[in-house]
């Protein structure tokens, strides 16, 4: 199969997906987050230290859109945490075609603002993603968040 080229239009469409991703989380519209993934999907967030040493443990691991929805439901209904907001800065989005979509790498930084506190760096790292066309739009089939610092400033409330 001939890999489809990454045309300017595709670039824009991929950018749109990341824009929507950032917007959903930054606006606190968590419910829009699972919709950006395919029904069968995988999301995981793990420290670079585990990733590079071949250790599988992730601090968030979802193996289906249902699990993503469960995480949103838990944040809405069961978890206790002090209020905060996040702000994504995603850059260097690099797509290469693969069998059924694109492999995409990107850099990210997430800034966090807690009540009564200055804005601080919550996390920075890279995304290693697989994107496919699904129901007429691009969606994540896989998203791996490799965060640079294993040390987290207390909690990771929202997905990165």
């Amino acid at each position: 199969m001939t890999p489809r080229p990454v045309t300017p239009e595709v670039r824009a469409e991929i950018q749109d997906l990341y824009d929507a991703y950032a917007e959903a989380l930054d606006d606190g519209e968590l419910e829009r987050w699972p919709e950006l993934f395919t029904e069968k999907c995988r999301y995981e967030a793990l420290p670079r230290e585990n990733f590079e040493r071949g250790l599988p443990l992730a601090v968030i691991l979802c193996e289906s859109r249902g699990m993503l929805e469960d995480r949103v439901a838990a944040l809405r209904r069961t978890s206790m945490y002090a209020p905060r907001s996040v702000r994504h800065l995603i850059s260097h989005i690099r797509a290469t075609p693969d069998a059924d979509g694109f492999r995409v790498r990107a850099n990210y930084a997430v800034l966090q603002t807690r009540v009564d506190a200055l804005t601080e760096i919550l996390s920075a790292g890279r995304y290693l993603d697989r994107i496919v066309r699904d129901e007429g739009r691009l969606r994540f089939r896989e998203k791996r968040v490799i965060f640079d610092s294993v040390l987290v400033p207390n909690s990771l409330v929202y997905p990165l």
């Binding site: 699990m67 929805e69 978890s79 040390l151 400033p153 207390n154």
Partner: protein, 421 residues
């Protein structure tokens, strides 16, 4: 007047009103112990570098000779090193010459340890084996004639490993490890660490903005689990009405919280738990597919071992949680998730999925790290106030229920002795 002690407060701190632990028992805990810098400094010596054993890691983290791992006991950096004889030793992480940290990454492997500054070289047993220009150069300089390599090795700690778990001590003559734990604690320790080889699944770390003691309070507190952790409760992973036990060793420094299988919740028992959400169900229940793997009826055992270890067995997610204090108002919580070398793929996947409950984003432990931060924020500006720990009475003995703060009271009873408070 609210603060009659005001003037005496600084000056001679242990004599003053504020920095005194007034009550006879430990059903009151004064809030200054969570912020005071002087007390914190004393804790480094008396608690962390004290007479007992502190957790430093798992043997499985450094399987091969020459492998090392960096960690800390209290604020003191140390490292584990597997020698060429296969034994694991623990050393202060500083060159005997002028203090440079020898191990700079989290993990590594070496045939010898070379300090970058002047290349003093240590073998895999921590012995100084090389000092460049020790005899000078072209007849000039060098170390004095009475300088002895043997007297300048790394500072080594006492080490005890049990079933793959490594403890170390700064004490010259630490107690026998089994005595240190006591029979009851040893039993539950051996329940998880049963001698099978371990497999490390990975790490997580949190910088928690609270005093380290709040972490122990949290884990020694079965009372909160059915109230704070709505997720746990909603899926029956922990419930007040399950049979359970709160056990201590003879001194109160260690403890175990044990929760066992029980009947489905009756309306009567859950009435007091507003956290119980009957209609909450997982869309993808694969996340929670616990299988019984340890003997006995317990489904959860959380063990706290003075001064710095929590052993977590919650269904099939297993971890050590190591406490590393970072000043009076912060500590690092280091999670080492593990399974067993003989786990099959399904079990490993199960452990990885259940790890969603734990760590900085865990469905359960997120609540705890947030509540610790909120506690510190409420406590820190009110050093003259105090917490009240009266659930289950004011005693410090074992209990066969969770409606008690006995293990916290026992912890502080021991703590006061150690700290001479």
């Amino acid at each position: 007047m609210r603060h009659p002690h005001r003037l005496r407060r600084r000056g001679l701190w242990h004599l003053t009103g504020t920095k005194r632990w007034s009550a006879g028992d430990t059903s009151r805990v004064p809030y200054w112990i969570y912020t005071d810098p002087e007390l914190y400094r004393r804790e480094q010596e008396l608690v962390f570098a004290g007479t007992g054993w502190a957790y430093v890691g798992l043997e499985a983290e450094l399987p091969e000779p020459g492998e090392w791992k960096r960690t800390a006991i209290g604020e003191r950096p140390v490292f584990l090193l597997r020698g060429d004889d296969g034994g694991v030793r623990v050393f202060e992480n500083r060159c005997a010459h002028r203090g440079v940290q020898l191990c700079r990454a989290s993990f590594g492997r070496a045939t010898e340890l070379v300090c970058p500054y002047h290349q003093w070289t240590y073998d895999l047993r921590g012995r100084l084996i090389g000092v460049p220009f020790r005899r000078g150069l072209r007849g000039k300089g060098g170390m004095p004639p009475d300088f002895k390599l043997e007297a300048n090795g790394l500072t080594e700690l006492r080490v005890h490993a049990r079933h793959g778990v490594v403890f170390a001590s700064f004490a010259a003559e630490p107690p026998d490890f089994a005595d240190w734990l006591g029979a009851a604690m040893l039993f539950y320790f051996d329940r998880v660490f049963d001698g099978r080889p371990l497999r490390v699944l990975g790490y997580a770390r949190q910088l928690v903005p609270s005093n380290w003691k709040l972490m122990f309070e949290n884990i020694k507190d079965p009372y909160h689990a059915s109230l704070l952790h709505v997720f746990l409760v909603s899926f029956g992973l922990f419930r007040a009405d399950n049979p359970s036990r709160t056990l201590m060793d003879g001194t109160g420094r260690h403890s175990c919280l044990i929760s066992m299988r029980g009947d489905p919740a009756s309306a009567a028992d859950t009435a007091e738990m507003r956290s119980f959400k009957r209609d909450f169900a997982l869309r993808d229940p694969t996340l929670l597919d616990p299988v019984r793997e340890f003997p006995g009826e317990a489904t959860v055992v959380m063990q706290t071992l003075w001064p710095n270890l929590i052993v977590q067995q919650q269904s099939n997610t297993l971890a050590t949680r190591q406490l590393v204090p970072r000043g009076p108002e912060a500590f690092e919580l280091v999670w080492t998730f593990f399974g067993f070398a003989d786990d099959d793929e399904a079990m490993t996947r199960r452990r990885l999925l259940q790890a969603n409950l734990m760590g900085p984003a865990g469905y359960v432990s997120l609540d705890d790290s947030e509540v610790m931060q909120l506690s510190q924020q409420g406590i820190s500006p009110y050093p003259d106030a105090q917490g009240r720990l009266e659930m289950g009475g004011r005693g410090t003995g074992d209990e066969d229920h969770i409606v008690t703060e006995a293990a916290i009271r026992a912890f502080y009873a021991y703590y006061r002795g150690v700290m001479e408070l």
